[in-house]
Symmetry: C2
Subunit: 137 residues, 2 copies
DNA sequence: GTATTCCCTAGTAAATTGATAGGATTAATA
DNA sequence: TATTAATCCTATCAATTTACTAGGGAATAC
């Protein structure tokens, strides 16, 4: 299941991407419009800024803005930051690999084989979709 | 992430499917061979029996056995019983659908659109794979 | 009739999730 | 310069979920 954190993060990114104006978008505006608890959203956008997806401006008329082209923000990257591994088991994760305690040989593991397929198909979708696609332009 | 419950369940099903003998397979044997905590595995196999994947026999020489052809046990079905929804958000779930509190119109929701694609691709894989494929014959 | 196996209900410690609280810092502007 | 408005940061917390464990009951083979 996708966490609320990730869901809110994606909705917020989409909202910012869709915003026409040049000035930064405020957390309060996003929170209200997307029905996201403001304080929670604050912490999410902070994470997205620290991960290099967003820039921010403090003080009056401050807010958040994209620092990359929407077409260059891949869903794989966003998901990995907000949700963690894309793979359903650590032993098939590209970026968060961990060996299973129980498997002597993971190439013999039926779950491993299945989850490789799931991972590859999920990756295909997430790599194909950028923020540009989410924002629908 | 896949829960241990699901992972253990899949490994146990595979083990039973691979077992050549006619007599039922004992929990203790599976637990030892697959390095799964026995009591935990007991509860998982119980669930699988109640869901119609396994039959059981009590007492000496008892154990669990498949009650369907391996080729008829689809991963979608197993996953739904052990893990719950396959979709990453309830609003794109076929079997566990729930409306989002925050979305006025889910067809406008960027997350929804993305997660539909992920779901469809995951379903494709899971429907294509049966226990026969996992057991590798 | 006894050992062996599954059956069933409870409970529980640890981790994760989805927040909230409270204030520090920075910037615009009157 | 004082005020206001915004982000930044740390800490905390209740509820839920996860990954088990405990303890015994019921059926079956021998």
């Amino acid at each position: 299941m996708l966490s609320k954190k990730t869901k809110y993060g994606l909705k917020a990114l989409t909202y910012i991407a869709k915003s026409e104006s040049d000035s930064p978008v405020q957390v309060s505006e996003i929170a209200k419009s997307e029905k996201i608890p403001q304080k929670f959203l604050e912490s999410i956008l902070l994470t997205l800024r620290k991960s290099g997806f967003l820039g921010s401006k403090k003080g009056k008329h401050g807010g958040y803005y994209l620092i990359k082209e929407t077409s260059e923000i891949k869903m794989t990257d966003v998901l990995r930051v907000l949700e963690g591994p894309i793979a359903m088991v650590p032993c098939v994760s590209l970026n968060f690999y961990e060996k299973c305690d129980d498997c002597p040989d993971e190439h013999e593991c039926s779950v491993h084989k299945l989850m490789i397929q799931v991972r590859d198909n999920t990756l295909k979708v997430l790599r194909n979709n950028t923020l540009e696609d989410l924002a629908g332009k």
